[in-house]
């Protein structure tokens, strides 16, 4: 049984003649502790797939299953987290780093000492100084902000994390640091991940399995080694040649 499954999911935007299919019978699965890389250009439907997987948008047809049961956001709160695209907007500018990281935990516990201890623990895990806890987002660099976002996502010990273009806005060298961090944390925590990016190189580094989307459809879905060795779809091949 897969950790998270999209089963022939269709999502439409608009009505009548102007209907646009954002997802067309998309099926994909993320296994426990594994990373599924989702590659596609803008408009391919990969971000819609992310919001469906996170339960933020209900599919028009098909089913989303978490742990074999239909996805309900309330039930999965804390088991599912996300690290999203924009480092500037990943954090509330009015809140301290510590408050941001602690937020997902505040749903579950009111024990302040416990929360503080967890925040300190996670700052260390994402290689940030303890002093950063009291700072606000505008005092941090893009890479530091994304590390904070990762710490926030990890604080509830989730089993599934969606990374939606989480490193795309970062400089190359900072990007490499964050990618290495994600790999290390996954080895330590064993969360399953859906890693979405337009950059095949980034996905190839992280993913156990690569899924290519184009115009709302999955055109290829294969284990990373097999994909790199010989993609079957011409579009995947052209993506690989770009590298």
């Amino acid at each position: 049984m897969s950790l998270l499954e999209l089963d022939t999911v269709t999502v439409r935007f608009g009505h009548g003649a102007r209907t646009v299919h954002a997802l067309r019978e998309v099926s994909l699965a993320v296994e426990e502790g594994q990373t599924l890389g989702l590659v596609g250009e803008s408009g391919s439907g990969k971000s819609t797939a992310a919001s469906v997987a996170l339960g933020l948008r209900a599919p028009d047809a098909g089913e989303v299953r978490f742990d074999g049961r239909p996805l309900r956001r309330r039930r999965t709160a804390g088991e599912m987290q996300a690290v999203l695209q924009h480092p500037m907007w990943a954090l509330n500018p009015r809140m301290t780093v510590a408050a941001s990281i602690a937020e997902p935990l505040s749903v579950r516990t009111r024990d302040r000492a416990e929360v503080r201890a967890r925040v300190a623990e996670l700052l260390e895990q994402v290689s940030l100084e303890p002093a950063i806890a009291e700072r606000r987002p505008h005092e941090l660099s893009g890479g530091q902000r994304q590390r904070v976002a990762i710490a926030r996502a990890l604080i509830t010990r989730p089993r599934f994390i969606v990374f939606d273009e989480a490193v795309s806005a970062l400089d190359v060298s900072v990007q490499a640091q964050v990618l290495q961090l994600v790999r290390r944390l996954q080895a330590e925590h064993g969360f399953g991940a859906l890693f979405i990016s337009h950059d095949l190189a980034v996905v190839r580094y992280l993913a156990d399995r690569i899924c290519v989307m184009r115009a709302g459809e999955v055109v290829e879905d294969a284990p990373t080694e097999a994909f790199v060795a010989g993609p079957t779809h011409p579009y995947s091949r052209s993506l690989l040649e770009e590298l």
Partner: protein, 285 residues
Amino acid sequence: MSLIEIDDLVVEFRTPRGTVRALAGATLHASAGERIAIVGESGSGKSTIGTAIGALLPANGGFAGGTVRVDGVDVGTLDRPGLRRLRRETLGFIPQDPIATLNPTMRVGGQLALVVRDLGGDASRAALAQLLEEVQIADPADVLRRFPHQLSGGMAQRVAIAIAMARRPRILIADEPTAALDANVRREVLKLVFEAAEQTGATVVWLSHDLDAVAKWCRRVAVMYRGRIVEDGPTASVLEAPEHPYTQSLLAAMPSRLRRGVEVRTYTEMLASQAGEPDDAEVGA
């Protein structure tokens, strides 16, 4: 004599929090017809060097040392009419976000006509359509009628290239022209830029953060770090045997070169650990 001669250039910005040095003694020479890529990360000063060539610095910035010469003329000593002539006759800019640089209230045709008329050219519908055809826009008549916000990113960038090339500039400065575009459109736009430059013999200065992409188009690359050019040479040798540790770390960090189990550290981190400082030196970038 080189077409562009930047010598020991220092550029400073006045901010509420004090003076910020964007260029700290950058030196770069480029001859006519050369294609040169300037590679650097945010805060490296590559955008500043691009704007400094046309003395197009923001109002709070200024030259604080060194010189920029274009065609032997010191840009810093030019008066307003002289600068305007330099920008009009010698320089072409291709921006990062073309939609934002086009006038949102004017149709594409109107904006092109303005540029062409300004140059004393033929601003008839047919001539404008011809300009767009040259940048491989399939349906020029339709695009001429559109407003900038009705264009796709790739389309808008083609229009921006058409506008820049209409002046037949001797220097074409492209500041991350493909940053906002999808991978497949990216290649076509770059091809267009370099082919257009080839035809007119323009010198291309391409500002980029992507060493891999640079290798396909430019024979020469300059790497910037913290306001200085730290490495400058033939692209092939810089990519294969980088001399400066920053270039080495930048190459190692390229996602296409990342390998599982091989730890990559940033140059800033390396410097910090050598100096015995904590690892949060990133903030200054």
